[in-house]
């Protein structure tokens, strides 16, 4: 998986998004981060994801929404092969990260995860490490010893996670001495430090209070300049605020995928409409 060049391909506007015909003016070139075709996943005999086909664009924020149990967490964890930690899981289909097969026969999960980072629902900084050590653990694992580079990355990542000002004088304190919202931003900084291609976020704000949530949402907004973000959320307003594109999952199937505005204002599928207008969920 090393040394891949992100492929640049142009994609026409999806016909589901309001019916622009294919002979209209082409949209500006955008690369595809994840090209997923007919992806299914089983936990043992239970099928959790059914034939999902979706193209997630690079350098944008894509939100995955849907009611509990719809498979959104399962889907996002399949994007960095974290589902393989549960025994008995099986997948079918094609997942390509910038053109490379994520599930290729000689592709190791550890390599995938170095390129696709993840932030979890509940913040999980390593309690025996300081704030600085937490941020840098990924880099150190990768064998980076250069103190200057480490210092630079530390500052960069904490800046990008909007945490630098709050911790710059206490970098040696344990990671768990921070508040809940700060811990989550620390986890984001930790994920950012290794400069992954993608950041996956599995309901990152669900354990946070509204003020902390607002900070994280602002940071997500700023991340899109440099990173591709895929965020799972059960909070529709959050999806509407933060994302460029939204995918609606229900019962393990991808029901609709379009620009966020379209999904929330003018969805094509009646199920989508029912969910976003709050009639079920």
């Amino acid at each position: 998986m090393a040394d891949a060049v992100p492929a640049k391909i142009s994609i026409p506007q999806s016909p589901a998004a309001g019916g622009a015909p294919t002979n209209a003016l082409p949209v500006a070139e955008e690369s595809v981060a994840f090209d997923i075709k007919n992806f299914s996943l089983w936990y043992g005999v239970r099928q959790a994801l059914h034939d999902v086909t979706i193209r997630i664009p690079a350098k944008k924020v894509t939100a995955i929404i849907g009611p509990s149990g719809c498979g959104k967490s399962t889907f996002i964890r399949a994007l960095n092969r974290m589902h393989e930690l549960t025994p008995g899981t099986r997948i079918e289909g094609d997942v390509r990260l910038f053109g490379e097969n994520l599930y290729g026969s000689n592709v190791e999960p550890t390599t995938v995860r170095r390129r696709v980072g993840m932030v979890f629902q509940k913040s999980n900084p390593f309690p025996t490490m300081s704030i600085a050590e937490n941020v840098l653990v990924g880099l150190r694992l990768n064998g980076v010893r250069d103190k200057a580079l480490l210092r630079q990355r530390l500052e960069e990542s904490l800046h990008m996670a909007a945490l630098w000002d709050e911790v710059k004088d206490t970098l040696g304190r344990p990671g768990i001495s921070l508040s809940g919202g700060q811990q989550q931003r620390l986890c984001i900084a930790r994920a950012l430090a290794v400069k992954p291609d993608i950041i996956l976020m599995d309901e990152p704000c669900s354990a946070l209070d509204p003020i902390a949530t607002a900070k994280v949402e602002e940071l997500i907004h700023n991340l899109r300049v440099n990173y591709t973000v895929v965020i799972v959320t059960h909070n529709m307003q959050q999806a509407a605020r933060c994302s460029d594109k939204t995918a609606f999952f229900y019962m393990g199937k991808l029901i609709e995928y379009d620009e966020t505005r379209t999904i929330f204002m003018n969805p094509a599928n009646p199920q989508t409409e029912a969910y976003v207008s709050g009639r079920f969920g």
Partner: protein, 311 residues
């Protein structure tokens, strides 16, 4: 790609992972292999000597063949019985207290100290039993020793507990002391598993609390309590140190619980450190029998528990 995703680093990490995996497997193999060794040698050295005579005969003097451990086997059973008389009531009642009555803080304390007690060397219990029951009473230093002295006189009159000397009672007492913290912990654990709704249903029917516990909760948890007792018995059946100066051992049948009594682990010890080959052979046989009993109890407990847990 950023500089750190180097191929060398990747290979190094893979190699280290594989190496640590191998080390961990090696540790596991080393840890379980002694069981294989022990069983192998027990069977190899002891199997041929385990016969009917072994179970029924008394130890023979050196040079005579045909000696057995009949008295030691019976002695061990006697000791287990006596130990259970001490250990089971106190342990079970204590476990009931923890589960039905205790508060969180006092329960933590009791559990803590029970665990500490479980870690005391077993020979210390032998010393305590010796001091209480074997040693001839010394002039009363205090109220306590006078009270205990009177208790011993009573016991002497009632059951013939000797005022001085080794006895099965002493051995049983030492082992019983050991059983108390063990049984207390296991009893508490199973009682806590009984759903609260059972108790509430019984109380709602008008049963007083003590009857609720005795008639409803205890029977529900009975299997678990019994397995706990069996495990404790398996544990003390193999103990030698507490018996060295309480039960003391006996080359003849024990006619009277107030006399010294033989026990299988004691006999194994005495034979093993002797210079006679025939006795060594019998030590192996005794060890095989003892191990078989202990393993059987453990396996039986496991089978019972599996059925219990799936209920």
């Amino acid at each position: 790609m950023p500089p750190m995703h180097s191929v060398a680093n990747h290979h190094y990490r893979k190699f280290k992972n594989a190496w640590m995996n191998t080390l961990a497997i090696a540790c596991a193999l080393l840890v379980i292999s002694p069981l294989g060794f022990i069983l192998f040698y027990l069977i190899r050295q002891g199997a041929s000597s385990v016969n009917w005579a072994f179970f029924t005969n008394l130890p023979a003097p050196v040079g005579q063949i045909g000696g057995g451990m009949g008295n030691a086997i019976v002695g061990t059973l006697e000791l287990l019985l006596l130990a259970s008389l001490v250990g089971v009531p106190i342990g079970v009642l204590g476990g009931i207290y923890l589960s039905e009555y205790g508060g969180e803080r006092i329960n933590d304390w009791i559990r803590f100290w029970a665990d500490v007690l479980n870690g005391i060397p077993s020979i210390v219990w032998g010393i305590v039993a010796y001091a209480l029951v074997v040693k001839s009473p010394v002039e009363g230093h205090s109220l306590w020793s006078d009270a205990w002295h009177h208790l011993r006189v009573v016991a002497h009159t009632l059951v013939g507990l000797p005022m001085k000397g080794f006895s099965a009672y002493a051995g049983g007492l030492a082992l019983g002391f050991m059983m108390i913290p063990l049984i207390l912990r296991t009893t508490e654990e199973v009682l806590v598993l009984v759903p609260r709704s059972y108790r509430e249903a019984a109380l709602a029917l008008g049963l007083p609390q003590w009857k609720t516990v005795v008639r409803i909760v205890l029977p529900t948890a009975l299997k678990g309590i019994v397995t706990g007792v069996l495990l404790a018995m398996a544990r003390v059946a193999g103990e030698t140190a507490p018996l060295l100066f309480t039960a003391f051992g006996n080359n003849y049948w024990n006619r009277n619980l107030a006399e010294p009594v033989a026990a299988v682990p004691l006999q194994i010890f005495n034979y093993a450190i002797s210079p006679y080959d025939d006795w060594h052979r019998q030590a192996w046989a005794g060890a095989l029998v003892l191990m078989a009993i202990i393993l059987t109890i453990n396996i039986v407990v496991r089978i019972i528990s599996r059925g219990y847990k799936s209920n």
